[in-house]
Symmetry: C2
Subunit: 360 residues, 2 copies
């Protein structure tokens, strides 16, 4: 089973290939390489998948750069390592960067591609569920700054995304679940039927059955592609993809990006967004338990850590990049399948949500 | 006398205002600021023009950041200083960066704007002739890397360019001449009549008479805007603007960016391009002296420093970003007013040019 989802962005259009054992297949990536390429990966992923990937690129001029694993390496310094490698190995404007790894490698490599000689081609080969359904699609690239996540970045579309679902078999349970948080998000913001499908396939998804996983990735990518195509630069509908993210980023910032995976923070943040939606009378109250149950089925947290100070979270949310012109914007639910942006939320309700949605 | 030149780039279109005493006029920049702004400048320029600029922005929330002067500060570290300032002062996505200075400040600030939260608005207030006629128009932004000039960057269009020609009165003679090198370039690559006009107004231009200078800036900006509009991302005609630049960048790289001003290196590089054009039979030989005389009238160098090794220059040219897919491309002249790109120049002729066009 193999799917191809198009991201229709005019001259920046590109396909996402989804299926088993695509990594080493020489018919996908190799024809896109014009001159030379640099594969950027991290040590954990490289150990498993660098060789299979290179097997599909035989006969081409390929360099590799393996960085240490972890979000704390998603920095300007790592981008600089990539640029120095490219320059010292004399890569020209016709080079292609290939990101082999999860969201950190994808965002970082995409950013390096965006800024190398004012923009070179790149290919995303996401090896985590989170990257396959979210970060590898849509052209958001960037690195973290000590004062905030993803604060330095660029919009830069890849030429191709290869989502090899067989790489998900080696994913630790926590990381698989973190990816599921984003899959569930698509159901919540724009597809009640997809949310129902997830609810009905909890067992198959938890067992990572190939067919169910590929279907979840395909439907997620279709949603992401549709939203991105409608709104490449995030003025309108694309903002809905940030359900749970303003809360989630604040949690990540306050816990130093290390304690919780991005998807886990998004799950917590989504439950906060749902709670606030219910407080405002936007969303039926009984959906709280329904949504929490689906997150819970994957072992995802459904409340924020108790020890985080409410004021610190509020402060971090205000700095979040979704804050524009001093006005905070939050994505909330009218109910499962329908999201909307709320500008300048009432701080009494917001504070109540931040205080109430806590681990017991 | 005041001119307005439009850069027609669809939704990225913007005006260039050209004239005397525009800097402190509150009707141009102030209405573009949506929330807050950060003025980035260097210590030399700030001393002269920061106060007048701020006088036109009264009542708005304006921060300032003054960096040390000089090309050696056009680095990723300086961009990081801007980002840290923006983040620690909590600038959101609706902020505007204002670049007050020459090409270094403009390129650096534009790059910082391109990558801050994936792109914020910026306004160019160029205070050198070079920046007014070249670097502030067209959206090329970037910083240098120890291994090459402008290797890290992005395309990011400003919302407005304010070219206050009264700021040119304080410009050192060498810098004014360096700007004239780019003015002359427009005549050479696409407007023989403009080249003639320059030849006929050497006295007025050397005396920096307001009318002649504004006219030179206007015609240069019109050329730059036309080329950029036809070809925003430099695949075709925009490459012609690089006349003299591949040679010039190599000279700058080999002399460490400090000994020669960019415009001086471009003048040297242009004479090399003319020499090679004559060697190939593209350009009439008598034009060499004609072109050298106009550069010379402004005190610009018309040959490369004797002490630079030909091999080192060749090497640096190969790494230049105009090298794509291992093939070197040079902009040459068919004659004054007509430029063309030559792919993969014959290395015997190229070497002869590099050896011959040397200071005596």
């Amino acid at each position: 089973m193999q799917f191809e989802v198009q991201v229709p962005l005019g001259q920046h259009s590109y396909p996402i290939l989804i299926g088993q054992k695509l990594l080493g297949d020489s018919q996908w990536i190799a024809p896109r390489i014009r001159d030379r390429a640099l594969v950027v990966s991290n040590d954990s992923v490289a150990e498993l998948y660098l060789e299979p990937l290179l097997a599909g690129l035989q006969g081409l001029r390929i360099d590799t750069l393996v960085l240490p694993d972890g979000e704390r390496h998603k920095t300007l310094e790592s981008a600089e390592r990539i640029w120095t490698h490219l320059l010292s190995h004399r890569h020209g404007r016709d080079t292609t960067l290939i990101a082999l790894g999860g969201g950190v490698i994808g965002d970082l490599t995409g950013f390096a591609a965006a800024c190398y000689q004012r923009g070179v081609n790149f290919v995303q080969v996401p090896t985590t569920l989170l990257a396959q359904v979210d970060s590898s699609v849509g052209g958001k690239t960037g690195v973290n700054h000590p004062l905030g996540k993803n604060m330095i970045g660029a919009f830069h579309q890849p030429q191709l995304v290869v989502a090899d679902t067989s790489t998900l078999e080696s994913l630790p349970a926590r990381e698989f679940a973190a990816g599921m948080a984003e899959v569930i998000k698509y159901g919540l913001i724009r597809d009640a039927a997809f949310f129902d499908w997830i609810e009905q396939h909890l067992e198959q998804l938890r067992a990572r059955e190939a067919e169910a996983v590929a279907e979840a990735v395909r439907r997620s990518c279709e949603h992401k592609a549709a939203v991105v195509a409608a709104d490449e630069r995030e003025a309108g509908e694309r903002a809905l993809l940030n359900l749970g993210h303003t809360f989630g980023h604040a949690i990540e910032t306050e816990t130093g990006y290390s304690q919780w995976l991005h998807g886990e923070a998004v799950a917590m943040g989504t439950m906060m967004a749902v709670d606030l939606s219910v407080r405002l009378g936007w969303c039926p109250e009984h959906q709280i338990a329904k949504i929490a149950a689906v997150f819970g089925a994957f072992g995802l947290p459904t409340a924020a850590p108790k020890e985080l100070a409410t004021d610190a979270l509020l402060d971090a949310m205000r700095l979040d990049k979704k804050v524009a012109g001093g006005e905070m914007r939050l994505v909330l639910l009218r109910g499962i399948g329908q999201a909307e942006v709320l500008r300048a939320p009432d701080s009494v309700h917001l504070r109540a949500t931040l205080e109430q949605v806590r681990m017991s």
